[in-house]
């Protein structure tokens, strides 16, 4: 029966997965590669980490700084993943803040 079922089963929409993954990686690489991006992002990321480290234990991988283009505006996005306090298991909360940049 299962073989017959396959003919009617809708194929999984992997194209959407591909698109989502690409949007993520392409925007990250555009800022990382510095083409058309301001050069202060790595320094900003480092300084943010220092400030946050005063209050919480986080590492560099959990502080993301990126610039996205949404229509006409550029959006500076800061994302800090905080470890859940007093919990060894790393369920993390994410603080997200978006600042309209220009």
């Amino acid at each position: 029966m299962s073989t017959w079922f396959k003919f009617w089963k809708k194929p999984e929409n992997t194209a959407q997965v591909a698109k989502d993954r690409l949007q993520m990686i392409v925007s990250r690489e555009r800022t990382a590669c510095g083409v058309g991006a301001p050069g202060f992002l790595p320094a900003l990321q480092q300084e943010l980490l220092q400030v946050i480290a005063k209050y919480e234990r986080v590492d560099l991988d959990h502080v993301q700084v990126s610039i996205d283009r949404r229509g006409e505006a550029e959006v500076l996005e800061l994302s800090v993943m905080l470890p859940e306090s007093g919990n060894k298991e790393t369920t993390r909360t994410s603080l997200r803040s978006s600042i309209l940049y220009a």
Partner: protein, 275 residues
């Protein structure tokens, strides 16, 4: 005034050489004096795709090193009198080309009244690819509907905006997107990135799609640019792309799937992927 076009992609195997051969032949068919230059030093293939491999005597490196003249190295196509090929070197080291030397060749081609100079870039983003794009006036970025190809194309677009003479002069590079090996049916079923998605991600003007086609292999086997097989879908798509490049308003084809009946779907080999 010659227009220098680089055909580039980052990722290998997406159809740069096939595209260079067909676009060059297409421009020549339209009456433009055209030369296709193979920049893939060490792995030359444009000569094979264009069917001139047995006539190669001198190559691009010989000309750059002034061991041969441009006229000696260029091979005139036997089918189209406006079409020339400048093959890459097969054996020499990769540092054989330099910016000044390539610049001299391009200047000389301008003096010889070529209308179009097509530079077939090697894969990658290293020196060879950067040399192929350095003197370009416009770029054609060849992309497959695969995540790896789209990502690499984005990196190449960054290079085009940073590592070319135009970029150094502060002028924006005009880049066009050509999506090859596209299957409208698979995209409609959600198995393949849609053209719209790729366009949205890369954000450059759209030249068209080249459908996945048996004609491409059939013609490359024989050393014929696929555009010279006029009844094939790929040839028609390349002709459309050239017309769009020349500014003609050409409706897009091969983008939307035909509605297919129950039985043709049931017996289609693509059902393999449906489960």
């Amino acid at each position: 005034m010659a227009k220098v076009i680089v055909v580039t992609s980052g990722k290998g195997g997406v159809g740069k050489t096939t595209t260079t051969a067909s676009l060059a032949a297409g421009f020549a068919q339209q009456g433009f004096k055209t030369v296709a230059i193979d920049f893939d030093v060490g792995l030359r293939n444009l000569d094979l795709i264009m069917g001139v491999e047995r006539r190669v005597v001198y190559d691009l490196v010989n000309v750059v090193k002034q061991e041969a003249t441009l006229r000696q190295a260029m091979i005139r196509d036997k089918r189209l009198e406006n079409l020339f090929v400048l093959p890459a070197s097969q054996t020499r080291d990769k540092d054989a080309l330099d910016v000044q030397g390539v610049g001299r060749v391009i200047d000389e081609l301008r003096d010889l009244n070529f209308d179009y100079v097509l530079c077939d870039s090697p894969a990658g983003i290293e020196k060879g690819a950067q040399l192929a794009m350095y003197y370009a006036d416009e770029a054609i970025v060849v992309t497959n509907p695969e995540v790896s190809s789209v990502r690499d194309s984005d990196r190449v677009l960054g290079l085009l905006d940073a590592k070319t003479r135009k970029a150094e002069l502060g002028v924006a590079m005009k880049s066009h997107l050509l999506v090859t090996r596209y299957s409208a049916e698979r995209a409609a079923r959600g198995e393949m990135l849609k053209v719209e998605d790729i366009l949205e991600l890369l954000g450059i003007p759209f030249l068209g799609v080249i459908p996945e086609s048996k004609a491409v292999l059939h013609n490359s086997n024989q050393g014929t640019p696929v555009i010279l097989d006029p009844n094939s879908d790929a040839a028609q798509a390349y002709v459309d792309a050239i017309k769009r490049f020349l500014g003609e308003d050409q409706p897009h084809r091969f983008i939307s799937a035909e509605k297919r009946g129950f039985f043709s779907r049931l017996f289609s080999p693509s059902n393999v992927y449906a489960g």
